[in-house]
Symmetry: C2
Subunit: 205 residues, 2 copies
DNA sequence: AATATAAATGAATATTCATTCATTTTTAAC
DNA sequence: GTTAAAAATGAATGAATATTCATTTATATT
């Protein structure tokens, strides 16, 4: 017996472009047509692949959706922390995260829209995403901010809602390009800063 | 010819319980199983009705979803204005709306969850909901608040995002009963007030 | 070059889907 | 009671659905 059997096997290599194509097209179809617009056969055709091929990469439709969500969730949280560290001042640290989030979403609007669609759908099969690194960073960051008197002490959900709720709401207006009042809303850096300053004021002790 | 033909016709009356049952069960199925969990045949069975009956009330599946959304949207905006008038002080007026929204959502969580699911889905067939009464009220309210120096002047989308973004975010934590940190989050009146005071501070000039 | 092994496939299956239609049921007006 | 007309139905239809499986294809190792 050779325990290296798998690694040493004379196997055909996976075409990684195929998996990427499946992922990309799936996200596109869901964002454009909704969850019920995603059928395995249409997806196969769009990704230029046999329906059976999808089942090599994913156990079934549900698994495909979950893996898609986990993948987006993971990279989104990694991107959010770029250039961030918990020793930063509260204002600078939060601003970096705002900027990171907006930049990522502007670059990959479909990822964000898929994420939001999934988050609001009922079938959340509690994701096995590993967010511990992110959570650790945020915990430290908030502890420091409270200690330094830059922020009021509050429950994490309240912090989260006040610190990010308005950002996400503005991003949705920006992406949907549908305003409350009629004309469309472009989220410029200047507008982002205006809202950010208000949020900082809100969170101050 | 009699132009009152329709009104005077010897017709069978509609069973309004049926329509209500269809609406209620549809919302329930969507909230529990997602958009792709709603099939016309399953809905018919759940509402104790023939599939063909659904097509008397709704043109097709899409029309059913749109009418459902419009109906929820309409009542939600009506409820938001209960006890409200645009001459109220900024703080009192906004607080009434926060309370109204939370009360309605707590009473009809399924309506809210359906609304959020629909809002984040792509198929928004621009709703023909009449929100002009609501919009007029808000416009006056905000103009007054700015004039009285209770609130900074800002774009409507920024106002909306700062004024309600955190509320909706907290409500989602509350309903999903899934916290960032593990244990569940109950949105009590005290917590609502804490967040509200922060938002008021943010919006002040 | 031969080989073993996983990748990739296309056709097939049984199921479920939205929608329709000929028919029956109900009821307000006569 | 009769009648007209819409409400309500159950069965039927054809299209689309997720998933499977017997083959074929490609390739890293030998």
């Amino acid at each position: 017996m050779n325990i290296h059997l798998y690694l040493r096997s004379k196997m055909r290599t996976r075409d990684e472009n195929k998996e990427a194509a499946i992922r990309e097209k799936a996200m596109e179809m869901i964002v454009n047509e909704g969850f019920d617009g995603l059928s395995m056969q249409k997806l196969a055709k769009a990704a230029n692949v046999s329906p059976a091929t999808i089942y090599i990469y994913y156990k079934n439709r549900e698994d495909l959706l979950n893996q898609l969500y986990n993948h987006v969730q993971q990279t989104f949280h990694e991107v959010a922390l770029e250039g961030f560290n918990p020793e930063l001042s509260f204002e600078e640290g939060l601003w970096i995260q705002w900027k990171n989030r907006l930049k990522f979403i502007s670059k990959y609007p479909k990822h964000f829209q898929f994420q939001e669609q999934f988050r609001n759908s009922p079938c959340i099969n509690h994701s096995d995403v590993n967010l511990s690194h992110f959570k650790e960073n945020m915990k430290l960051f908030i502890m420091n901010a409270i200690k330094k008197g830059e922020m009021k002490r509050m429950e994490p959900e309240i912090f989260w809602s006040v610190a990010y709720g308005s950002l996400y709401s503005m991003i949705k207006f920006h992406l949907q390009e549908i305003s409350i009042m009629g004309n469309s809303f472009k989220l410029t850096d200047a507008k982002l800063k205006i809202a950010f300053d208000m949020v900082i004021k809100a969170l101050k002790p």
